[in-house]
């Protein structure tokens, strides 16, 4: 399924560049993501994939270009930043659940503190999403008592409890063994089917093939090409993309 990029994208990156000291991690990157679109970003390690999606909720600050979310440009002015962040869910490679809280409390923290929901409503919403990621029975446990796959699903539920407009995934399965990878990918598939806008940094090419609307290949800080999966996997234009695909498929 190929979509045309509409005039008003949900996320727009325009000529984004970033340096860590003298090293340029992002080189003039542009990407437009429409509401409901699912983008997979792949590429060798150190190519700037994680940095790119971390610029979308400003966990990293870009130095040149524009990052626009739902019509609001992210810049040095941090006043509106927490308001933008509450609409952008983020899932990390290392889960980053809060170890001092139970799984349920992890999921309730954002809705209660940020959205001002009552604890009772937040609990109901948290249980709903813990059910959707298939771990409602783990609600009362602390993160350390869960397997890696369960922790990552709890982290996904925690983000979903904020009812975000987009979900960013930063290598969500890289710290997991194969059985757990499947648990997490199943949940991400469900999420995609529900129509969630998703940007996923991953090496799971099976997921890219079945779920993505477009697959972007990054190398040395640039998006080399960004194509629908059928064309990306069968007839990539760039030599570097071909080499990468031959290495990981």
């Amino acid at each position: 399924m190929e979509r045309l990029t509409p005039a008003e994208p949900l996320i727009e990156l325009d000529g984004v560049s970033k340096w860590f000291g003298a090293f340029q991690v992002l080189r003039d990157v542009s990407l437009r993501v429409a509401e409901g679109e699912r983008i997979v970003i792949c590429g060798p390690s150190g190519s700037g994939k994680s940095t790119l999606i971390r610029c979308i909720n400003r966990l990293e600050e870009h130095q040149e270009g524009r990052v626009v979310f739902a019509g609001r440009e992210l810049g040095a002015d941090t006043a509106g930043l927490t308001e933008v962040r509450r609409e952008i869910g983020m899932v990390f490679q290392e889960f980053n659940l809060f170890p001092h809280l139970t799984v349920l409390e992890n999921c309730m923290l954002g809705p209660v503190r940020v959205l001002g929901m009552s604890p009772a409503d937040a609990r109901e919403r948290a249980m709903e999403f813990l059910g959707r990621v298939r771990i409602p029975e783990q609600a009362g446990k602390h993160p350390a008592q869960l397997s890696g796959g369960q922790q990552q699903r709890a982290a996904i539920a925690r983000s979903l409890c904020m009812r975000p407009r987009v979900m960013l995934f930063d290598e969500p399965t890289s710290a997991l063994d194969p059985v757990m990878i499947k648990e997490v990918l199943d949940v991400m598939n469900d999420l995609a089917e529900s129509g969630m806008t998703m940007i996923v940094v991953t090496h799971e090419m099976g997921f890219a093939r079945t779920v993505a609307d477009r697959v972007a290949f990054m190398d040395e800080g640039s998006i080399v090409e960004c194509l629908p999966p059928d064309r990306f996997f069968t007839s990539p234009a760039d030599e570097r993309t071909k080499r990468f695909l031959s290495q990981i498929l």
Partner: protein, 276 residues
């Protein structure tokens, strides 16, 4: 939590059987008893050597007296009360200053970081005695503070620098991913500290903060140089009148010791409670 696989289990009996006589409990106690006896022997023989006239029977009246069926607190007891009051206020102000210094040093504000760093360096690099004099002779008259509050403020500002470093280290020990996860939920910096960072950092801070409170109790003795009627000042006054220097100083040391040890025990319990 009893079914938790992480709960520590008792060592199996076979390892407990390996305990040798030299690391058994009774041998520990014996070692300690010999050590204390040797110390006491040294002190007593020294006192006999200088012809010291022990008069322990005179000490209790300085703690508490019963006159006509009524309980009257002696000067040492009143001094202890002042010491505790001084320490209590100082602990509160120390923690407030420490938290402020830590947050300033971790803030994005350049001037805030500079002020906090300059404060910590200045306080740690000058003797406490000089700071107490500075407060008493310079700041006290300017701000119109009485001796007690000069003492509280001098102690708090001194210990606050150390508390600030402890709190800062505790906050920095919380992993970056925790900050990022909280921030991406949309938590403000204040909410991040309250709900995510401090609950994880405080249990780590408790042991060194207990050390700071204990050093506060000990350092409070130094306010005797500005004639605050604390335990140490009262002791000096009694000795000036009675020359009971051995008895009174030993008594005073035991009183300080009793309070700091009691505090350590309470802190140990608290720490256990917070971790569990």
């Amino acid at each position: 939590m009893t079914d938790s696989p992480l709960a520590p289990s008792r060592p199996p009996p076979e390892t407990r059987r390996n305990v040798r006589w030299w690391n058994a409990g009774w041998f520990d106690v014996l070692q300690f008893t010999v050590f204390v006896a040797a110390l006491l022997g040294l002190a007593v023989s020294g006192a006999i050597g200088m012809g010291y006239n022990w008069q322990w029977y005179r000490v209790p009246e300085y703690l508490v007296r019963i006159v006509g069926g009524e309980l009257l607190w002696g000067p040492l007891a009143r001094g202890l009360l002042v010491t505790l009051e001084l320490t209590g206020w100082s602990v509160l102000i120390t923690l407030a200053i420490g938290l402020a210094a830590a947050l300033l040093r971790l803030s994005d504000s350049l001037s805030g970081r500079f002020v906090a760093k300059a404060y910590v360096e200045a306080v740690r690099s000058t003797p406490l005695l000089i700071q107490v004099y500075l407060f008493y002779f310079v700041l006290g008259p300017i701000l119109g503070l009485d001796r007690f509050w000069v003492g509280v403020l001098a102690l708090s500002i001194f210990e606050g620098a150390f508390a600030g470093e402890v709190i800062r280290a505790g906050i920095l020990s919380v992993r970056r991913g925790q900050w990022e996860a909280g921030a991406s939920l949309g938590l403000s910096r204040r909410q991040l500290y309250r709900s995510v960072v401090l609950p994880q950092a405080v249990p780590l801070m408790l042991p060194p903060l207990t050390g700071i409170v204990i050093s506060l109790i000990r350092n409070s003795a130094i306010v005797s140089v500005i004639a605050v009627f604390d335990l140490t000042t009262e002791a000096r006054n009694i000795i000036a009148e009675t020359f009971l220097s051995f008895e009174i100083w030993i008594t005073v040391a035991v009183i300080y010791l009793a309070f700091t040890v009691a505090l350590s025990i309470v802190a140990g319990r608290l720490e256990h409670h917070v971790r569990a």
